[in-house]
């Protein structure tokens, strides 16, 4: 070759370096490909391999090959190879590229694979602007499975699954993938090329190289659609098949650049480096401080089952969480379980809380020691389940006459009215919590206040909640004083 020809323009009949010299992963015929004579895959692979060589990226390339005639790229490419499921190459390539942003990831797909079963994956990878390169080999037929209709099969074509010819009524219209994808904002470069003659092949060569370059620059998604002959399934000789590409395929699928944003698109920003391991606990917001309070001087075993119930929005779950947080700080085992199941649908909200000095077995509280009922339906629903000797706190000025039990202590206080007087009815749940702390020595008040400071982030609300907690305790003290002779309503 004359010395004036630059290295990257070496003759195209030479074998590319990133193709194996012999195909050691094949069982037989290790010197030849599995593609039929005249098949466009052979040419396309050669063009792709040459582009990889020219760009000097073979060490960085990962070829992703799904099902169909593209599945065997690992026989030929001396690069990283990942074989994936039918249609899923853009998703798998996304997984690889996100994990290894420096890799040059190339999804190599046929028309059935990309345009039918994998249509969602290609659409979304393109739309995300995933910085991968897709080589889309469109021969308008399912080759490997023996000649069934592809989404790209022209109208009227007979295939094994359109034995009377493809009709729009039965089979829909040929899918123009490149035009569809080019309409999205994500792709940076999409071009349709063909293998119908040498001129077209040279254009295909340039397009593939440009697609890879745009990935190397980190610009975004690129796709080259290659109109490709399939002489065996088309039942044509190679020359005739090439003519078919030139004359029929290109008239149905016009060649050319469908979108090119390589000049205007900025490279995607690099992902920040991983955090040092020592930083992880802080990033994961894992507490480093021991709890402020231990269960100092507490005697005896604790095993308290609490059910909190009310309307959604009354702060039922938060009330339960505050109890559990405080219990944990106090050195108890705790569990908090939101109600789950059919009753979620009726607009009520409730949770199960357990505080115990022993490991907690079942976190479900079907027979509570304490019921906090923030509305009447909740009182009626759960009152019967309360254990004898248990405690019931009810949001109201009086316990309804027909919802009373003589074997449990029942207290009625208008929690939300009390909270409203303090500044906001929203703190009614904390008033109820204060009342509980007064009715039963569950956890010391200062422990609850400390837990509250951790859970309630806003200083304004925290201030209100502190007052609400105190008002709840006070209100129950007063109620107890009034009913000192008869704490259990008969």
């Amino acid at each position: 070759m004359p010395e004036t020809i630059p290295a990257h323009m070496k003759p195209i009949h030479a074998k590319a370096d990133c193709l194996y010299d012999s195909y050691f992963r094949k069982e037989d015929n290790q010197h030849q490909t599995h593609y039929c004579p005249g098949c466009g895959h052979g040419i396309t692979l050669k063009l792709l391999a040459e582009a990889i060589d020219e760009l000097g990226i073979a060490d960085r390339v990962v070829v992703v090959s799904p099902v169909g005639c593209s599945v065997f790229l690992y026989y030929y490419f001396d690069t990283g190879n990942v074989q994936v499921a039918h249609g899923r190459a853009p998703a798998a390539a996304t997984g690889i590229k996100r994990a290894r942003p420096d890799a040059i990831v190339i999804a190599y797909q046929g028309d059935g694979d990309l345009a039918a079963i994998g249509s969602a994956e290609i659409l979304h990878a393109a739309n995300r602007g995933e910085p991968i390169t897709c080589i889309f080999v469109n021969n308008a037929i399912y080759g490997m499975t023996g000649g069934q209709m592809a989404p790209t099969t022209p109208l009227g074509n007979r295939t094994t699954t359109t034995p009377f010819g493809r009709t729009p009524q039965n089979d829909g219209y040929p899918l123009h993938v490149s035009e569809v994808l080019a309409a999205l904002d994500g792709p940076v470069y999409i071009e349709r090329v063909a293998l119908g003659n040498v001129k077209q092949i040279l254009a295909a060569r340039r397009a593939i190289r440009k697609a890879l370059e745009s990935q190397m620059k980190g610009l975004g998604f690129s796709l080259v659609e290659v109109l490709s002959p399939c002489p065996t399934i088309w039942k044509m000789d190679p020359v005739e098949a090439q003519r078919h590409v030139r004359e029929v395929m290109t008239s149905l699928y016009p060649l050319g650049v469908k979108c090119d944003r390589t000049a205007e698109r900025e490279p995607l920003p690099a992902r920040p480096p991983g955090a040092p391991l020592a930083e992880l606990p802080r990033l994961l917001r894992i507490p480093e401080q021991e709890p402020a309070f231990e269960r100092r001087g507490a005697t005896g075993e604790v095993d308290l089952r609490i059910r909190v119930a009310g309307f959604g929005g009354q702060g039922v779950l938060l009330l339960g969480q505050l109890l559990a947080e405080a219990g944990m700080d106090y050195g108890l085992e705790v569990s908090w379980l939101p109600s789950y199941g059919p009753e979620m649908r009726s607009g009520t909200s409730n949770c199960h809380v357990r505080l115990s000095s022993k490991p907690i077995d079942s976190p479900l509280v079907s027979k509570p020691d304490v019921l906090i009922a923030l509305n009447e339906p909740s009182l009626r629903k759960f009152l019967g389940a309360v254990r004898p000797g248990g405690t019931v706190l009810y949001n109201g000025s009086a316990i309804p006459g027909d919802a009373r039990r003589s074997d449990v202590a029942m207290y009625a206080l208008p929690f939300f009215e009390i909270a409203d007087r303090e500044g906001s009815a929203k703190a009614g749940n904390v008033v109820a919590l204060g009342a509980l702390l007064e009715a039963l020595p569950v956890v010391p008040v200062e422990v609850v206040e400390r837990a509250m400071a951790r859970v309630v982030k806003s200083e304004k609300w925290l201030e209100l909640d502190r007052r609400a907690l105190e008002r709840g305790r006070q209100a129950l003290r007063e109620l107890k004083a009034e009913t000192v002779k008869e704490p259990c309503h008969a």
């Binding site: 990283g80 190879n81 990942v82 994990a99 290894r100 391991l277 507490p287 969480q321 705790v334 789950y340």
Partner: protein, 363 residues
């Protein structure tokens, strides 16, 4: 060390990240959303990748890609989503790719409902996808275990180059309990030498599940089977709860095992020596431990939130030598301790054989 009151689902994500997880691909589904949301919040801060995929099908194939590239990767879903992922899980197992898949079970079949069930046991333990493969399956019962087993799941996935599934339910996921994260110091994820990373060192590596020659595929499948035997020998995990002297042994996992612990206490108060065998690994199943207990127990009682799936493995282990009774609720109903207790007492007084009645009343 300080503990954090935290939902099981969130504890799992934190445990996973501490265990080296650096990528999460998922698709929203109730009741697994806290997992996906926590991953979206924490992973990017930890220098990892989070991506909401266009479908479960895409999500599991993104997992496949990331696992191919040697990253510790996780996804989470619930029954209907896991069904969609099953093709990908088969590919992951076939290509021997490690990953962690969380199934926060909901009621099925079909759309079912969003309440907790345990009816994906067969799907998780027996396959779900096509071909001769197994997932290792872990069944946490506490928020602490959601954290700890997430970490273990990644270790097992790497050790066996196999998908590991964490099979849990809406209750265990939504429940808040104190979790000590300090017992699991952060692990530095290592890049395995078989991965395809787009580097000169990994250039010759190949990830694939295709073996066209029958002899090649048979060799591959037998290699997988040998790997699963190895896991059966070394990775079976369970918890015994008052089984030392038990005549009646419950078998239950996940949230049900917690309820059964209460039932064990209630039965013992009534003089019935009850105990619980809680499988922590559902595959490999603690068959040998059940075999050991067959010599001691008069009856096994399997309780599940399904119409009976794990009971088949219990029966296989018991080999017909003892009665294996069943109590199950489904549709999102969680059996209460009182309800199970009543059922068992009625069974003892009614349908239990005279021999079993005698043993159980011996105490």
């Amino acid at each position: 060390m300080p503990r954090q009151l935290i939902k099981g689902n969130e504890a799992l994500v934190k445990g996973a990240i501490l265990g080296g997880c650096r990528a999460f691909y998922g698709y929203p589904i109730t009741p697994a959303n806290e997992l996906t949301e926590a991953a979206a919040f924490y992973l990017p801060q930890a220098g990892g990748v989070f991506l909401q995929a266009e479908s479960e099908v895409a999500a599991i194939n993104m997992v496949y890609g990331a696992a191919s590239a040697g990253v510790r990767v996780m996804t989470a879903s619930s029954g209907p989503g896991i069904s969609l992922m099953s093709e990908g899980i088969s590919y992951l197992a076939g290509a021997e790719l490690p990953c962690v898949i969380v199934n926060v079970m909901r009621g099925g079949p079909g759309l079912g409902n969003i309440a907790p069930e345990q009816s994906d046991y067969f799907q998780a333990v027996k396959g779900g996808g096509h071909g001769n493969y197994r997932c290792l399956v872990l069944a946490p019962a506490t928020a602490q275990e959601m954290c700890d087993l997430a970490r273990l799941a990644f270790e097992l996935a790497d050790r066996y180059r196999n998908p590991v599934m964490i099979l849990t339910d809406g209750y265990t996921g939504q429940m808040m309990e104190p979790v000590d994260f300090h017992s699991t110091p952060a692990a530095e994820p290592k890049v395995p030498d078989w991965a395809v990373c787009g580097t000169p060192e990994t250039r010759r590596n190949l990830i694939t599940s295709i073996y066209l020659q029958p002899d090649d595929l048979e060799r591959h499948v037998r290699k997988l089977a040998a790997k699963y035997r190895l896991a059966e020998e070394h990775e079976t995990r369970w918890e015994n709860y008052h089984t030392e002297d038990a005549d009646l042994i419950f078998v239950g996992y996940g949230i049900v095992s917690r309820i059964l612990k209460s039932v064990v206490g209630m039965l013992r108060e009534r003089g019935v020596r009850a105990g619980l065998l809680r499988p922590i690994t559902l595959y490999p199943f603690p068959t040998a431990e059940i075999r050991r207990l067959v010599g001691q127990a008069a009856v096994f009682f399997t309780v599940e939130m399904s119409t009976g799936q794990m009971i088949e493995d219990v029966r296989l282990a018991v080999e017909g030598e003892r009665p294996v009774e069943f109590y199950g609720r489904c549709g999102g109903n969680v059996p209460s301790a009182e309800e199970i207790f009543d059922h068992v007492m009625r069974w003892i007084d009614g349908r239990a054989s005279q021999a079993v009645q005698e043993v159980l009343s011996h105490a």
